[in-house]
C-alpha cells in the first residue's frame, strides 16, 4: 500500500467502495434513489468525529482500524445456526446471515403475518414498502443509518395484518459469520397493523471470535393505532462482534410498544433506540440490562421524542460492570411544545464491581411543554454492605450472597420480560455470567 492510500480516512474508503458498487446493489428505482441520497448524506456527515457529542463516550475509530469491506463471507451452515437456538422457545424463526435474509418455507401463517426478503417481495406489496422504507430511520440523523441505507444487501420485511394476534413469537436470528474483516448491513422493516399484537425477538450472534467484524444493523418498526408490539433484543453469543444496532420506532395513536435490550456479549456494542410516539395515548416502555466483563464496551443510547399529548414513556436500565469493561447510558426524553400531559420517566442504575471498570451516564431531558411530569434518576454504586451482612448473618457465603444481590438487581428488568422461555433463558445466562 502506498503512503497516499494510507492517508485516506476509513470513511472515504467506504464511500469509494460504495460508489463503485452502486449499480450492482438491489432495489427498485425508488429504492435506488433512496440509496444514492443516503450515500450523499453519509459523504456529508462522515464517520462520527472524536468530538461528536452523540458518540462522545463511544469513539468509533477503533472499529475501522482494520480495513473493512462490504464483501461478506458465504453464509454459515444450518448446523451452526442451530447452536443459537433458545431452549424451550416455540417461535417462527427467520435468519439473517451477513445481512442476507433466509425465510423458511414453513412457519408463517400468511393470513396474519407475512415475511419476505427484498427479492421475494410480491409486486403488489412494493408500493407499500416504498412508502415506508427509510421514512423513519432518516439517513441525515445518523451516519450509520445513512451507511446502512446506502449499502444494505437485503431487507427483512415483516407485515402483521390488521387485528392479528400472533400465537407464536417471531425469532429473528441476526447472525454474522466473522471469517472476514467485513462490514455487514442487516436491515429490517416491521409493520404492525391496526389493533394487531405481536412478540418479536431479535437475537444477535456471531460465529467466530478472532475476526473483528463490524455489524451495522438498522430496524424500522411501525406500530399502527391500537396495536401492541413487544420487541426483545438479545445480544449473546457474539463475543467478537462489534455492533452498531439502530432501532427506529414510529408509534401511531393508542399504540403500545415495549422493548428490552439485553447485552451479555459483543466486544463493542452501540444500541441506538429511537422511539417516536406520534399520536395521543401511546404507551412506551424501554428496558435494558447489560452485564459486562473483560474489556467489553456497551453504549445504550435512547431517545423518546414525544410529539403528541397524553402519552407515557418509561425507561428502566440496569448495568453490572466487571473487569475492564465500560458502560454508557445516554437517555434522552424530548417533549415537543404540543405534547402536553406527557408523563416520562427514566431510571438508570449501575453497579461497578471493579476498579478498572467505567460507567458513563448522561440522562437528558429536553422539555418544551409545561404541563408535563418528567423525571430521571440515575445512580452508580456497588453492592450494599448492609444487605451483604444481612445475608451472611444467615449463613450464606460471601460469594453466593453477592451473586444473589446482583441477581436481585437485574430482576428489576428481567421480571418485565413477558415471554416465559426467554425469561428463563436470560435468568440462566445471568447466573452463568455472574458466577464467573
Amino acid at each position: 500500500m502506498t503512503n497516499i492510500a494510507e492517508k485516506i480516512s476509513p470513511g472515504d474508503k467506504l464511500i469509494a467502495e460504495l460508489e463503485l458498487n452502486q449499480d450492482s446493489l438491489t432495489g427498485s428505482d425508488v429504492i435506488r434513489s433512496t440509496r444514492r441520497n443516503a450515500l450523499k448524506s453519509f459523504s456529508k456527515q462522515g464517520l462520527p468525529a472524536r468530538k461528536s457529542e452523540e458518540y462522545k463516550y463511544s469513539p468509533v475509530n477503533r472499529l475501522f482500524q482494520k480495513e473493512l469491506s462490504f464483501v461478506t463471507a458465504s453464509p454459515v451452515s444450518d448446523e451452526k445456526e442451530n447452536s443459537f437456538a433458545l431452549a424451550g422457545l416455540d417461535a417462527s424463526v427467520i435468519r439473517i446471515l451477513n445481512g442476507v435474509v433466509h425465510i423458511p418455507v414453513s412457519g408463517f401463517d400468511s393470513a396474519t403475518c407475512a415475511a419476505w426478503s427484498l427479492k421475494s417481495l410480491p409486486k403488489e406489496e412494493l408500493s407499500f414498502f416504498e412508502n415506508h422504507f427509510a421514512h423513519y430511520a432518516l439517513p441525515d440523523t445518523d451516519p450509520f443509518i445513512a451507511l446502512n441505507t446506502a449499502a444494505f444487501q437485503d431487507v427483512l420485511i415483516i407485515k402483521i395484518a390488521d387485528g392479528a394476534a400472533l400465537a407464536k413469537p417471531i425469532l429473528i436470528q441476526n447472525i454474522t459469520d466473522s471469517t472476514h474483516a467485513s462490514f455487514t448491513q442487516p436491515r429490517i422493516f416491521i409493520h404492525v397493523g391496526k389493533n394487531a399484537s405481536v412478540e418479536i425477538i431479535e437475537q444477535f450472534a456471531s460465529t467466530k471470535k478472532e475476526y473483528a467484524t463490524v455489524c451495522n444493523a438498522v430496524s424500522e418498526i411501525v406500530v399502527e393505532s391500537g396495536a401492541k408490539a413487544l420487541f426483545y433484543k438479545l445480544q449473546n453469543d457474539c463475543a467478537g462482534l462489534q455492533l452498531i444496532s439502530t432501532t427506529q420506532v414510529y408509534q401511531h395513536h393508542d399504540s403500545h410498544f415495549d422493548t428490552h435490550t439485553v447485552t451479555f456479549s459483543g466486544s463493542w456494542t452501540r444500541n441506538n433506540l429511537n422511539i417516536v410516539p406520534d399520536g395521543e395515548h401511546c404507551e412506551t416502555h424501554l428496558n435494558g440490562l447489560f452485564i459486562l466483563n473483560e474489556e467489553q464496551h456497551t453504549d445504550n443510547h435512547t431517545l423518546v421524542d414525544h410529539r403528541k399529548p397524553n402519552c407515557e414513556s418509561n425507561q428502566l436500565y440496569r448495568g453490572i460492570l466487571k473487569n475492564k469493561s465500560t458502560g454508557v447510558f445516554n437517555g434522552k426524553i424530548y417533549v415537543r411544545p404540543d405534547a402536553q400531559k406527557t408523563n416520562a420517566y427514566q431510571s438508570s442504575k449501575n453497579m461497578l464491581l471493579s476498579d478498572d471498570a467505567s460507567m458513563y451516564t448522561k440522562p437528558q431531558l429536553e422539555i418544551y411543554a409545561d404541563d408535563v411530569k418528567c423525571s430521571h434518576g440515575s445512580s452508580t454504586g456497588q453492592i450494599d454492605e448492609e444487605a451483604l451482612f444481612y445475608l451472611r448473618a444467615r449463613g450464606i457465603s460471601a460469594d453466593s450472597a453477592r451473586i444473589l444481590l446482583m441477581q436481585a438487581f437485574a430482576k428489576d428488568v428481567v421480571n418485565t420480560i413477558r415471554i416465559e422461555p426467554l425469561r428463563k433463558e436470560i435468568e440462566l445466562l445471568i447466573e452463568k455470567r455472574l458466577a464467573n
Binding site: L352, A357, M359, T361, D370, D371, V372, C374, S378, Q382
Partner: protein
C-alpha cells in the same frame, strides 16, 4: 386559571431596575482586537513585561480556537470580536487617595445601585459590614476596608494592583485553575482582561467580613473581561460575594470573565453570585452575553469550596462554576437558582472532578423558565480512578411557567472507581395545581401563592446565601418572575 395566567404574566413582566446609564468621562481603546490592543491595555496598566507576554501568548492561542457553538443549548448570532471595545475606564486625574477624589457621578451610580462605597454599615436592619471592590467597565474604581483587612494580613485589592504589588502570588496562581488553554472564552479573557479582584487570606485567618466585588458595565459598545483570583491559605475562611448590573441597551454586550479559587489545607471558600446583568427587553433585543469560566481547586486535605449562584439576568448565560476535589476529604458544593424569562437563554451547571480520597460533592440546581426562554442545566460529575469512597448527590429540578418555554437537563456522569456512590435526580414539572389549591383554600391569593411556592422551591439554594444577598435574591426572584404564575 385565566386570572392565574394574568398574574403569571405580570410577575414575569417585571422591569429591569438597573437599566440607567451614567455619563462619566471615559477613555477607551480603539475598537477591535489585535496585538496592539493588548499592548495598549498592558501599557495603560503599566504592567511588567511577563504579564504582557502571558497576554500575547493567550491571544495567539485564542486565534487558533473556534467559538464553542456546537454543544451548548444556545442560539445567538455570531459575535463579531472586531466590533467590541476591549478597554474602557473612567478618566482619572491622578492616583486616588481618598473617597472624596472619586468622581461624584461614579459615587452616585453606585448609590443608585444600592451599593455604598463609603465604609459604613450597609442595608438597613442588617448589622454587618462588607468590603467592596467596585469595578466599572474595565477597571476597579475603589476598594473599601482595605486597611482594616490589611491589619489581619488579608490582601484585598484590584487585580491590577496585585500585579504591581504582589507579582509573586499572581505569577504562582494565575492560570493555575483556568489556564488560557482551557476554552475559547478563557483564552480571550487571558489576553484582554482588564481588571478584577484579588484576594489572599493568610494562614489560619478567618476573614472578619464578607468580601465583595460589584461589576458594572457602563460604556456602550464595550465588553467586560475581568478576572478574579481568590487564594485561601491553610486553615483560613472567606465568604465572597459578586454582583453585577448593566444599563439597558439595544446592542448585545459581551462579558467574558474568569474566576479562580484555591483552597489550601483546611481552608474554606464560599463564593456567592447574584447575577443580574441586563437580560434584554421582552422581544429579546439587547442584553448581556455572559460567558464565564469559574473554577476552584480544593488543593489541600479537608478543604471546601462552595458555589452559590442566583442567575436572573443576561440574554445568554454560559457558566459552569466547577470544583476540582484534589485534597483528601475535600468538599465541593454547588447551589444554583437560574431564572429565565422572555427570550433569555441559560446553559449553566457545574463540574465536580473527584481526585482525592473520601471527597464529597453536592449539586442542587433549580431552574425556572418562563415566557419564551430556554433554561438548561449542564453538569459533569467525574470520579477518577483511585478517588476511593467518593460521594456525589445531584438534584436538578426545573419549573416551567409557560407553555412556550423550555427546560432541559444534560448531566454527564463519568465513574471510574468502584467505591464511588453517585446519585442523580432530575424532575421537570409545572407548579402543582394541588399546591396552588392548598394555598388558595387557605385564603392566599394566586400571586402570593405562586411566590410562596417558588420561594419554597428555591429555599435550599437561597438558604446558602449570606443574609444580605438572600434578601436581595428573594426580591430579585419576585421581580424576575412577576406575573408568571399559572
Amino acid at each position: 386559571m385565566a386570572k392565574e395566567n394574568q398574574i403569571l404574566e405580570e410577575i414575569t413582566g417585571g422591569e429591569y431596575k438597573y437599566g440607567f446609564s451614567t455619563d462619566i468621562e471615559t477613555e477607551t481603546a480603539a475598537i477591535g482586537l489585535s496585538e496592539d490592543t493588548i499592548r495598549f491595555i498592558s501599557n495603560k496598566k503599566q504592567e511588567p513585561s511577563w504579564m504582557l507576554e502571558a497576554r500575547l501568548k493567550a491571544y495567539r492561542y485564542w486565534l487558533t480556537l473556534e467559538e464553542p457553538k456546537h454543544w451548548p443549548h444556545l442560539s445567538y448570532p455570531t459575535i463579531n470580536y472586531q466590533d467590541i471595545i476591549y478597554y474602557a475606564a473612567p478618566k482619572k486625574q491622578q492616583q486616588l487617595s481618598s473617597l472624596n477624589e472619586v468622581d461624584p457621578e461614579l459615587l452616585r451610580t453606585f448609590e443608585k445601585l444600592g451599593i455604598s462605597l463609603e465604609e459604613q454599615k450597609r442595608l438597613s436592619g442588617v448589622q454587618s459590614t462588607i468590603a467592596i471592590d467596585a469595578v466599572i467597565d474595565s477597571v476597579s474604581v475603589k476598594t473599601t476596608f482595605k486597611e482594616t483587612l490589611a491589619e489581619k494580613g488579608i490582601i484585598f485589592c484590584s487585580f491590577s494592583e496585585a500585579v504591581q504589588e504582589h507579582p509573586e502570588l499572581v505569577k504562582q496562581y494565575m492560570g493555575s485553575m483556568v489556564p488560557y488553554t482551557d476554552n475559547f472564552f478563557a483564552a480571550l479573557n487571558a489576553a484582554v482582561f482588564s481588571d478584577g479582584s484579588f484576594c489572599y487570606i493568610p494562614k489560619g485567618v478567618r476573614c472578619p467580613m464578607e468580601l465583595s466585588t460589584y461589576f458594572r458595565i457602563n460604556t456602550s459598545g464595550t465588553g467586560q473581561f475581568e478576572r478574579t483570583l481568590i487564594i485561601a491559605d491553610e486553615g483560613s475562611y472567606v465568604s465572597y460575594l459578586e454582583g453585577c448590573t448593566a444599563p439597558m441597551r439595544d446592542e448585545n454586550q459581551l462579558h467574558a470573565a474568569v474566576v479562580e479559587i484555591v483552597a489550601q489545607k483546611n481552608a474554606e471558600v464560599k463564593y456567592s453570585t447574584v447575577q443580574n446583568w441586563y437580560p434584554g427587553d421582552k422581544n429579546g433585543k439587547g442584553g448581556i452575553y455572559n460567558f464565564v469560566t469559574k473554577r476552584g481547586i480544593c488543593a489541600g486535605d479537608n478543604s471546601k469550596i462552595s458555589w452559590t449562584q442566583v442567575e436572573t439576568g443576561s440574554a445568554i448565560t454560559w457558566k459552569y462554576p466547577s470544583v476540582i476535589l484534589k485534597g483528601n476529604n475535600s468538599v465541593g458544593e454547588f447551589y444554583s437558582v437560574a431564572v429565565t424569562n422572555n427570550k433569555q437563554q441559560a446553559d449553566t451547571g457545574t463540574k465536580m472532578t473527584h481526585l482525592g480520597k473520601n471527597t464529597r460533592s453536592t449539586i442542587v440546581s433549580k431552574g425556572i423558565s418562563a415566557g419564551f426562554s430556554n433554561n438548561s442545566y449542564r453538569g459533569l460529575v467525574r470520579i477518577a480512578k483511585g478517588a476511593s469512597n467518593a460521594r456525589n448527590h445531584s438534584q436538578c429540578d426545573s419549573l416551567l411557567m409557560s407553555d412556550t418555554c423550555g427546560a432541559h437537563t444534560f448531566p454527564y456522569i463519568e465513574i471510574k472507581d468502584k467505591s464511588a456512590i453517585v446519585e442523580h435526580e432530575a424532575t421537570t414539572s409545572k407548579i402543582g395545581e394541588d399546591q396552588l389549591f392548598y394555598c388558595r383554600q387557605r385564603g392566599i391569593d394566586a400571586e402570593k401563592a405562586v411566590a410562596l411556592i417558588v420561594n419554597g422551591y428555591c429555599k435550599e439554594v437561597l438558604n446558602q446565601l449570606p443574609m444580605e444577598f438572600a434578601v436581595e435574591a428573594q426580591k430579585l426572584l419576585a421581580v424576575s418572575l412577576e406575573g408568571s404564575v399559572g
